[in-house]
Symmetry: C2
């Protein structure tokens, strides 16, 4: 089945009977809202199923399998790799209306939520109990927990708290054949059978549709202090990052901006930046208020060896938000200057950051494509932005070769093609660069066990030629 | 193939050619050392392969598959569920001679080790760099990293640092057909493809033989303070545990002893214990020395509501070792009093600990089998010891029914049958009590993908009747 192929009348009738016409959308105007994600690509699905219960998920999947209709699960559509786009047409299954927080156990530090709960809404609810769920993608205000789980999402806090896979105790999910599965449970330990919970996390909705999750919770830090530090070189900044990671309390964020990012900020904002600065770190430390500021000062002292050009005194609250601006201003500026920029999400061991930056600069110079890099230095996870103008055919012809060079560079530095965005459609042609053949084959066979007809989120993770059987 | 079945002459010759006669052991006296684990059951393998390289692992597995000989991977044999016993006969593959620490990166906070490296040896090496690898099973001085990974091991520190699955970045492993696979890598983030690393961790050596691991490291705490606190009831102790978990710095251990354990200590040791005490906690907090003792005092203050009967001032170093004695003395005492005790390893959400203890007491009273419980209260992970005398046929006839009741109780309390020991042969008949049918079937199919002939560590995890095809 291909985009635009109509859903057979009998299938449509069955699905309408199941969900009602208000929740099985086939009109173009209704489907449009489910045609986009953060890649900017538009793929109009043939229909949209707005499910409200797990049984409805079972029903939709069972019917779609019977009619051989592809199903693409979708949270809030904030992903960066096309993971929620119905590239093979068929039905987009939206979990956004499954958005109940079913249980918050303070004594046992877990929450049970439906997949469509918005990350930010959950945090608000948990904040009342001085708890939080650590995954903190920049889309937290709109992205769903189900999406976070599908993509194993994370954000700046990953350096201290880890990623989605570290904060899920158990899952309820539905297979493409409509059967339910349960993984894990309500305990923080458990070694009975294979780790099916983590097999589902990060599987990009290709194995099962997660309907409910038991989330492990953390104590909300009382305060967060932030400081901005600039360096004359990436080498010095990267050495400072390694030092900061050896602190006994790991920072809650160590963000990085490269020289090009600083040039942009100099031109477009009033953020004060030392003339010679070619790298900047944002250091955030979170914890109990007592002694926290002093702790940050000790950390700042510990990196004086690496000749910071300047640093701001650690601040919190509204003042911290202003310091953070150096980082948060970047994406909007880039979006304005290069609306069709290509945003990659590579990751290397921290000590290889200087080699990565050096290599990127060479690639940029050779191709004439400006590259602006920033991201989560504490994890070596860098967002590499190629500022391209899609109208410029000469430049666009180079993009493929440039991405090839970027990915080759990253892998040569013992890195990975994606730290938090995933593969989706965007990196599927590169997956064999990173994974060895045997491992890749096992994954394809696992996919076949879960979804023998290849109907669940087809076109994702693997090159098209290799696995589609739908 | 069944225990005692001879290995065909041609297979023996091929394997001796591969490893030499010194490392392919067939004499009974040589095999005896590989016939045991911590269950106390003896299962003599037909042969033992002492491998030293990954290529030898490939060779052994390839030959054994060709000859249809079962292979049971083995670390140090410290497991508690028969996981390394060759219950289907064939070859025990020992990784103990693959014990090199290949790389320690301080800047990137990882170590690359062979599977046979002893946990304690690794910690010693890492201590030089103020680093450590958090999994801390009580067998740390002898168990191997490969065994820790196979079983997803942990110890008291899990409450703060998590378990083996949280501290492995990547793996090298060999499939039963002799093919190598690589999972994960050297970065602390990565979402390219399914999470094969964690699929292998905790799979009890049934999917592949792990040969090498890239381990994530943590900063070694400067100091650890310990305090012993006793309560008049499990309810009060469990409430204190929940409160302690809400501290902004999670304790590095919250160990628990039940009333029967305290009775034992009263009788067999000079550990001072309040007369009315029916539950005891050991609270350990680790971190930078500055202010740490005060932090523990604040934590102790925070649980005064729960009417502790007495508590010791937080101490460190040798003094802490003496306080810890209340916990460490228990296993030896139990071993002496009831050498054939049955040690289960259940886990429930922390708030359910009182109901668990209450239920266990009822089961003990009804059966006449004394039950002593202690363990990792911070994770709700309790070691339940049935003190049975194997000579007493009347009692032994009750054991099956008692275990059934214990496991039913645990599952009714939203718990799991094993927090850290695993399934092996010991809990295979109960796995369907915990896992739903669909999830279990998926796991069996995954097993078949990795090991179609069912030759790798057969007889583990699933009931015998269901999956053996060797």
């Amino acid at each position: 089945m291909r985009p635009g192929a109509a859903i057979p009348d009998s299938a449509r009738q069955d699905l309408e009977r199941l969900l009602g016409v208000d929740r099985f959308l086939t009109a173009g105007v209704d489907r449009e809202a489910y045609a986009w994600d953060n890649t900017g690509h538009r793929v109009l699905p043939d229909a949209v199923a707005l499910v409200t219960t797990e049984d409805e998920v079972c029903g939709v999947l069972r019917l779609c399998q019977a009619y051989r209709i592809p199903v693409t699960p979708r949270g809030a559509g904030t992903g960066n790799v096309g993971g929620c786009l119905a590239v093979f047409g068929g039905v987009v299954l939206s979990t956004q209306q499954m958005n109940r927080i079913l249980e918050v156990s303070v004594a046992d530090r877990y929450a049970v939520v439906e997949a469509g709960v918005v990350n930010g809404d959950l945090q608000k609810r948990l904040g009342d109990e001085d708890l939080f769920w650590p995954p903190d993608p920049s889309s937290a205000r709109s992205c769903t927990v189900g999406g976070n789980i599908a993509m194993c999402s994370a954000g700046p806090g990953a350096v201290r708290w880890g990623v989605a896979r570290d904060w899920v105790l158990g899952l309820e999910a539905v297979l493409m054949n409509g059967e339910k599965i349960r993984t894990g449970g309500r305990t923080t330990k458990g070694v009975v059978g294979f780790d099916m919970t983590r097999l589902l996390i990060g599987s990009e909705g290709t194995l099962a549709v997660v309907t409910r999750a038991i989330l492990k919770l953390a104590s909300k830090p009382e305060k967060r202090y932030l400081s901005r530090i600039s360096f004359a070189s990436v080498e010095l900044a990267a050495s400072a990052v390694s030092r900061l990671l050896s602190a006994r309390q790991i920072p809650s964020a160590i963000e990085f901006l490269d020289g090009s990012a600083l040039d942009l900020l100099r031109r477009e904002t009033s953020v004060p930046i030392a003339v010679e600065a070619r790298a900047m770190l944002l250091l955030e430390v979170a914890g109990a208020a007592l002694g926290l500021k002093e702790q940050v000062e000790v950390m700042l002292e510990s990196i004086k060896n690496f000749q910071p050009l300047e640093w701001t005194q650690p601040v919190e609250g509204a003042e911290a938000a202003r310091v953070w601006e150096a980082r948060s201003a970047l994406s909007p500026i880039l979006k304005r200057l290069a609306p069709k920029r290509i945003n990659e999400d590579v990751v290397v061991p921290v000590s290889r950051l200087p080699l990565l930056m050096d290599g990127l600069e060479k690639i940029s110079r050779a191709s004439g494509i400006p590259i602006v890099s920033f991201g989560h230095a504490g994890n070596g996870n860098i967002h590499v932005n190629l500022l391209v103008d899609p109208q410029n055919a000469t430049i666009m012809a180079l993009v493929g070769g440039v991405l090839d060079r970027v990915f080759r560079l990253v892998l040569d530095l013992d890195g990975s093609l994606s730290g938090e965005h995933g593969v989706g459609t965007q990196k599927r042609d590169y997956i064999a660069w990173e994974l060895d053949k045997n491992c890749l084959n096992l994954q394809k066979e696992i996919k076949r066990i879960f979804d023998p007809m290849g109907l669940l989120n087809p076109g994702k993770i693997w090159p098209l030629t290799e696995v589609q059987q739908g």
